[in-house]
Amino acid sequence: MRSWIFILAVSYLVLLVLLSLNSRRRNQTADDFIFAGSNIGIFLGLLTFAATLFSTFTLLGMPDFFRMHGIGAWIFLAVSDGAMVFLIVWFGYHLRKRVLKKGFRGMAGLLNESYRTSFAGYTYFAGVFLFLIPYVAIQIRGVAIFLNASFPEVFPVWGWALLIVITMLIYSEVGGLRAIMYADTLQGLILLVVVWVIAFNCISYFGGVKTMFVSVESVDPGLLSVPGPENLFNIQFLLASFLAILLLPVTQPQLTTRLVVMSNLRAMHRMAVGVGFFAIMIILPTAAIGLYGAVRYPEETTAVFLSQVLLFDQPGIVAAAAIIGLIAAALSTSDSQIFALGSELRSLLPLREKNTLLKTRIGMIVFGFASFVFSILSSDQLVLLARVSFAGTSLLAPMIFAAIFLKKSPGIEIVIATLTGLLLFIATLFNIIPSEIGTIRMDLLLLIFLGLFTVVIHFVRNRSNGWSRNQH
């Protein structure tokens, strides 16, 4: 296996270097660096969006989620992703229409302009920073603990994490968004092939799909239905997760940017359909891998289960490809998010190109190392931590919808309410306030409240404007 790892790792690194240098040659302006010339076609758009969305969280987190909580994991992620691709068609059109009129430097800049106060942009930036850094960190940590469990003699967990962060920063700083998109494409293809080969081997172990489910039933029939053996997938959890995942293209800048930089609406539409198809193709095999783990490794820790199923139960070349695929997945999701945070920082800065680009680059390095520090401190519950990140950023959605859909400037009250919502949600995470009010989850409650509040403020403002016009 080690010789295969060496061959594949060298091939991957050579490709990464070539793609970065090629992108660097093509980047003529700061906008080329940040937005890849805003002319991305269907194939590149599809794979970069998919690779940014499906990452370590998918390859490591989802099999473990299926193993521990059963088939409800499909409803949790795949159904939510299905709805999300429909939302891309609806929201993407309105976003692009807005961008066509007013230009785009980042969502924070768009919010500043729309709300006519930089408070809106800073609130957005604070929200994405607070919830994306932990998300980036768990991608890095997921791969680092896996590599450490598999090769304990090479590096400690922090060593692997540092290596991933440095590699990511180097090629992002060299090639900009275009290099990241090329790396995403490479990663998306590796991930898809690897996950299917491993799933096929897992199903072969049982002799077929039917016998796999019979074996799972004999181990724990609770895995075959919701809410699962640990009662995780109750309707409220699934609904709150559905809304949080549905709103990802609206609230997470690495995805919003990818809707904007597509060459035209037709390309964005086709990309959306492709991502939906990709979601099914990538999540389905993780179910087989997870259920194999439920039968063979029900009591093992996450790290042991993953190193067994992805490495030691696979032929050498597949195990080596899994390792490279995992590193590629961690790199591609993390770099997109770190880069998006840098772009958002840029959109908050005044328009002096040379200076702002330098600050953006420095910002990316700072964000990268913040993720590294958090990756050492965070827990191993990949999917649940990712879900917290999704739920946190989803609270920004009503504020963004108001900016995109309202012709007049929405009220600053919406920004204040959003900031309060973010603070309350963080307070629940640290157990300062209860995470449920009555029997309702706080994240769900906050999202519903912010949505209703935004609608009410819009109508109240419209009415008072109409009233003052009549007075005059």
Partner: protein
């Protein structure tokens, strides 16, 4: 008069909302039940797969009838 595309697009939106709503009913996620099975797959899994495929088909249909498509063609 409303453009036909706009009506079809709204039908797609309504269908997507309907699909989202039924996902969270016992029709799709009956607690503790995994029959009837399809090719050995438990009930909530195969119907969940059908719903996801349904969303992707709706997205595809939505891209065909989306009113913005015409706007771009006219530009």
């Amino acid at each position: 008069m409303r453009k036909p595309n706009s009506v079809y697009w709204k039908i797609c939106c309504l269908a997507a909302i309907l699909l989202s709503v039924i996902t969270f009913t016992p029709l799709v996620i009956p607690a503790g039940k995994y029959v009837p099975q399809l090719f050995g797959m438990p009930y909530s899994l195969w119907i969940g797969i059908l719903i996801t495929v349904g969303f992707v088909i709706l997205t595809f249909l939505g891209t065909i009838v989306h009113p913005g498509k015409k706007e771009e063609e006219h530009k």
